[in-house]
Symmetry: C2
Subunit: 467 residues, 2 copies
């Protein structure tokens, strides 16, 4: 990370690190567009009323106030004030409703943008970071095949990022209907509460979750145990999932003719379909994992988290789900399904453990030397000739000794130094030459035809410590 | 603009409009990198102390407060609070100081990011917009050739944007030393005040500026008139500039042996050099225009504004200057010169007057039809084969009648519909076919070898109403 990143939670990269982030963003965008997703950018701000649906007040949000209005900011209710978005799903929902007459449904969109969390500064927590999202939003209804398509596209995207040092990714899927049906089936009613506690399982462990389920959600010890047993279920295919689930329901005495079981079955079928269809295309890429709960409250069906092999400390790097009631306008609903990559976190890992970096700092392949300031125009003309053929070129900042100019190129990783013609001791023009300062090779060259060797032509991302 | 852009000053584009903005950003980035500039991204927030140097309080800034901390935000002094950056130059200065040990100087950087102005909502004013900046920052000193190089790169970049409907751009340059020397030469002392009033010339006219100079800056009627005469000077080359300036000094009785004239001469020489060197490379691209003042107070030498032919309403679309004292660390200074394109404003013009738009809404070249939901996997496999060869492909959202699927492709501007093999009435497999729904041509095709015709392969930007 840039040395002086002086504000905790607000990462900034050095130029050679930013190249990695830029490359990751470019790669994701190209994969998303290969699948026909449309790019949008939404404003950074939303009204408090959008950010705080259902009157939540626990959200970590940054509110804005005008410096010119200092001291009066609380005259306006929070709902009317502007705040920075904390994700890209809430803005998408607002955008879809506002532009429903102008876009075609299902609306497949990608979006790569910064989001903010108004948290206290904490070690290892970002308060500003980039997310890369894809969502498919329907008008009124949304076919369930998108619940397989979308996570598979994300797996494909993450697979592409392995070139930059990312370990193998696996999507863990669950379904909220399945969880809710089961919880109701064993007699629980505070479904949101149970989901919230189960979501903490990886962080605080089973004993603590059991305690919280009993203290906070009115569960008996047996009910808490049932919830934890459900969370332990995982399966690589639909029939195994069905078998394990039914065995658990049997053991817990869930009424198989009841409404709760029917709801669970609905979720179970979708989840089984997801796992089976994904397995047919990318075996092992998507597994059913019934402890996945997701903190955000707008999910109504499938939920997903994604983990990297051998890097449990990062947590989920790509999460999402299906939300049927987030975007509504009168009686109209716009159900959606989407996943969001925590891009800054990935880049952090690439730059850190994987030691990804730019092959050179400067995009330039050539530095044109300058004999003296009176002849700068000559060097500029050479640079123009090279650039006109797409060769990124810099010109030496000052007409220092040639050795110093070469040092400047070396510092920036620029592989070639162009040595313009000059007058030799006999008053004759010397030849134009270009020196590869990595190999040491120096040859006569003409700026209107010369081209760098392929391996030195473009800056790219290198990974020292690939997984 | 996206129909429901519901928040005044916060523009949002429809997907087909966003393509134009994205293309503009990609083009600028490629030009900047062609010239060896390094890309960085800084955090969106800065401390109040950075945003409000010299204790200014007139700035239009958005300050942040945590929702969880509501009501206590004014416990902290403004200097310690976080605010959204209003430009990319102040963040660059902070970044350079923080990372001075890790970057090579002169530091040539490009940066394309959103900035915010915490203004009241006003017709035609953006409160959130994208800027595209290049700057060169030196360590201790900065060669003056960058004062020609940087505006010329911007002219080249804006020239590239003419493909998207931008009219011809001309950079108008001035120099603050020249202005200050002249103002002092005629006996004025409130230099910042005079610059501030002169900056309003295009908006409020000469009479009003004259009145303000007299009322606010202690100028006599003659002094005000002298300032206005200076502002009227323009020249296409250095010698013409020198002639006109000297004639004015003569007429105003400026002492040619005084310090004030020496200061003016310093600025005059730089400005003359800029205009002459630029004319040698791109005649007419950069002119001397002595009314250019710039509102921002951190400029110390060259200042630039850029105007589009025939579009005076947009004002300057690319502005900047040289700042010698913005970034400092103890006794160290990091002088810089840079220009900033108001990208959102340009895109606004392209989408509006020039009617630039994406050639199609979807990036996909092909929509694979689906016979029935049971055969979706067959259509998915075709899509995978096409994508594996880089052909952006979508799959029909539902297995509706073929006509409806074609309509969906048409709505998104997808030129080809792929018709998978199916069983005909005799139980025989039909041929795979692909239909160009624009030309009507339908041919047998194999997804492992077929490719779209070049004109239909990639989405691009079209301009209906080129300048």
């Amino acid at each position: 990370m840039a040395k002086g990143a002086s504000l905790s939670g607000f990462p900034e990269w050095l130029p050679q690190e930013r190249v990695v982030e830029q490359q990751v963003m470019d790669t994701l965008r190209s994969i998303f567009e290969l699948h026909g997703f449309l790019g949008i950018e939404t404003r950074a701000v939303e009204k408090g009323s959008s950010l705080l649906k259902k009157g939540e007040t626990s959200k970590e949000i940054y509110l804005l106030s005008r410096l010119q209005d200092l001291g009066n900011e609380n005259d306006e209710p929070v709902e009317e004030r502007l705040g920075l978005h904390f994700d890209l799903t809430v803005p998408l929902s607002r955008y879809v409703v506002e532009n429903s007459g102008a876009i075609a449904f299902p609306f497949k969109r990608w979006q790569i943008q910064k989001v903010w969390r108004g948290e206290r500064p904490q070690e290892g927590r970002f308060r500003e970071f980039v997310q890369a999202d894809i969502d498919v939003v329907g008008n009124g209804d949304l076919p369930s095949h998108y619940e397989v398509d979308v996570p598979l596209i994300m797996v494909e995207a993450l697979e592409q990022l392995r070139a930059y040092g990312l370990p193998k990714a696996t999507v863990h899927a669950n379904n909220r209907k399945l969880s809710e049906g089961f919880y109701r089936g064993v007699g629980l009613t505070d479904i949101e509460g149970v989901l919230r506690e189960i979501d903490k399982l990886d962080k605080i462990g089973a004993d603590e979750v059991s305690r919280l389920l009993q203290e906070e959600c009115g569960a008996s010890a047996d009910q808490a145990s049932a919830c934890l047993q459900l969370a332990e279920l995982s399966a690589a295919n639909g029939s195994e999932l069905r078998e394990k689930f039914d065995a658990l329901c049997e053991a817990q005495g869930v009424d198989k003719d009841g409404e709760a079981y029917a709801l669970a079955l609905d979720g179970l079928n979708t989840l089984g379909m997801i796992v089976d269809e994904a397995a047919a295309i990318r075996p092992g890429a998507v597994i059913a994992d019934l402890k996945i709960a997701r903190g955000l409250d707008y999910y109504t069906g499938s939920v997903y988290e994604t983990f990297l092999e051998g890097v449990s400390s990062l947590g989920s790097v790509c999460s999402g789900g299906r939300y049927d009631n987030l975007a509504t306008q009168g009686k109209k609903t716009y159900p959606g399904v989407g996943l969001s990559i925590g891009l800054s976190r990935l880049v952090s890992h690439m730059l850190g453990s994987a030691q990804a970096s730019a092959s050179r700092i400067s995009p330039a392949a050539v530095l044109v030397a300058v004999w003296d300031e009176e002849h700068r125009a000559q060097s500029n003309a050479i640079a123009r000739a090279l650039r006109s053929r797409g060769i990124a070129t810099d010109v030496a900042p000052i007409a220092a000794k040639l050795g110093k100019q070469i040092k400047y190129a070396d510092k920036l990783g620029i592989p070639y130094v162009w040595i313009p013609s000059t007058l030799d001791d006999n008053g004759e023009n010397t030849a134009e030459e270009v020196k590869n300062i990595i190999t040491g090779e120096q040859i006569p060259a003409d700026a209107s035809v010369w081209a760098p060797q392929e391996e030195f032509a473009k800056r790219h991302v290198e990974v020292k410590n690939a997984d």
